[in-house]
Symmetry: C2
Amino acid sequence: MKLLHTADWHIGKELGGFSLLEEQKAAFKKILQLALDEQVDGIIVAGDLYDRAIAPTSAVTALEAMLREMNLTHHLPIYAVSGNHDGATRLGAGHEWREQTNLYINTTLAEAFTPVETEEAQIFMLPFLEPTAARVYYQVAEDEIADYQSIEQVMARIVPEMVANFNPDKRHILVTHYYVTGSDNEDYEFTSETNSRVGGLKGITAGQFADFDYVALGHLHLREASPTKTIRYSGSPVKFNTKEAQTEKGVYIVDVTADGVETTWHPIAPTKDLIVLQETFETLTDPAFYQQYDRAHANFFSIRIQGAAQSSNARADLTEIYGDVVELQYDMPKIALDQQVVPEPVDDDISNEDLIGQFYEEVMGESLTPMQETLVSDTLVAISQAEEG
Amino acid sequence: MKLLHTADWHIGKELGGFSLLEEQKAAFKKILQLALDEQVDGIIVAGDLYDRAIAPTSAVTALEAMLREMNLTHHLPIYAVSGNHDGATRLGAGHEWREQTNLYINTTLAEAFTPVETEEAQIFMLPFLEPTAARVYYQVAEDEIADYQSIEQVMARIVPEMVANFNPDKRHILVTHYYVTGSDNEDYEFTSETNSRVGGLKGITAGQFADFDYVALGHLHLREASPTKTIRYSGSPVKFNTKEAQTEKGVYIVDVTADGVETTWHPIAPTKDLIVLQETFETLTDPAFYQQYDRAHANFFSIRIQGAAQSSNARADLTEIYGDVVELQYDMPKIALDQQVVPEPVDDDISNEDLIGQFYEEVMGESLTPMQETLVSDTLVAISQAEEG
């Protein structure tokens, strides 16, 4: 069978106060077209369908239209799980009715142990969950809590219970949404410090998922973070920040045969791209420079001004020229901690993630690594989820 | 055919800081049992399934379980609309999948014109909507807006479009959620002042719905507010405030035959009742008095103390005796507007509705009428819906 693997749609996400909804809809259309062209037998969405536990109604309307088009119009089975950004209860509402047409969105641990059975494969869907949720599910006694502290410990109990339901005549697919460490990619090899604890959770090691023929992961937005060849992140189909601007976005087509699993990468070209500029204000405002770019809302621009801006309102000037300026930063030398600093005025539209990132950069003189960035993002999500209750 | 008509479940509602969820679940069980005993062909829920546009997750879990039990376990068709308290987009999410098993929750005007067809009847479901939503739907031009200002005007266009789809060989049922004026019940006859505008919307008159054989209404919580014998409010199945405390709650069984429509009232006895006490503090704390009531969380108590309370903490004393004191008020004489007043300390747990009600009472010396109370409640809901966006 053939599956399309995507993840981290984050429908409703904004970039510097600009809605990404139209770009997300455009990416969706391309993903759907690819699924139809490739005649896949189903689409995997490995968590973070929404950007927030309480998604704005515009995001709800958009995701519903996507699910409808895939599942009701084109009769494509959907294999999805809730990620850490999703509100599991809200996303899971009505799932029994959706399953009647093979639209699966698992949002609880209880659902993880019963795979969807196809002719060739068993597809297990394990949503993101905190160790506390597993302790509730397993009714862990007071004196056993030490064995259920980390997500790694919890997984050591969950995975064997899934494996116990394996049909040896079939291939075994897992759809889930976690950090999985053990990368064979230098760029994303974790330092020993971050290896064991990322996002407040002990990391899962690739070996824990070794029994599966393919693990379709969501959580990290770059496919390069995939820990092994059969345990993969598809990454997000849309660029969410400057770190992701120079990377290629896309999805995997996963071929599941008796001989094994083969994945093929299919890029999804952005309709409205995220372009990062790092120039002096003089260059940025020089027609000879800016006329090389499609502007007037054709692209998003993340701009870093080198040196001082000869303007009383650099943002207004650059917005006039470039259209959608989603980020505006100033290159600053590393600040010694004992130095008196007059801080740059804070951009009103800036997200909490970016604010922390900029602060780190100003103090440390280097930007957050992708891992650190995810840690910051996850912490902020965990806080907002706690507020939602 | 036989239908059960209920409305205004307001799942997730609190009463003076106390959750009504358990009482709502208990009422649901009784409603379901009645539906099974009476072998009805479907259950009408005429709006306000939730109490808020963004219902707490506990309410989502509870309503989902109810829908599952009615529709998937017992295969009962559900005919529901969103009310002014519901968040239409969120409640409507996934409705195409739910409809596969005859669970209908209409949340948009577009859905109102296509009835569900049964052998004997056409069931139209028209959700609550503001005139603005109708103007968008009908793409009303600038110079026609004057004809779409009030809900009465809007209904004058909507109803004929539904009637145009009538099959003359069938009975015609409408499920909706509005004020409908023209009561034949003295207690709820509106004054000329409130007749035309309640809740910021011009009222719909019963005559506008004359083409239907039965109109199953939600919005007002007392069945006594029903405008005619075939245009009825079932009222809420649970008591939500002191005004409703002395009334009988229940549902209608609606018999639809070739000869016409017959309704039978079926009371739903509260499991945990709302008891209103109005006594001196001395009486309230006298065992001979309070021992006549089932206390210790067996009932909710709304208490009005007559005269001064001989206690430094009347609430603590009364909670100790009665358990769940959902309201605590003090009888005060009417205050002249030019009089210097030391206000009573405000109860922290009090809802905005009750706060406005108490203020009105203190100033005017009389309590809000049910109509005024609904006006206050609707205004507050409209404000919170506007915040939700």
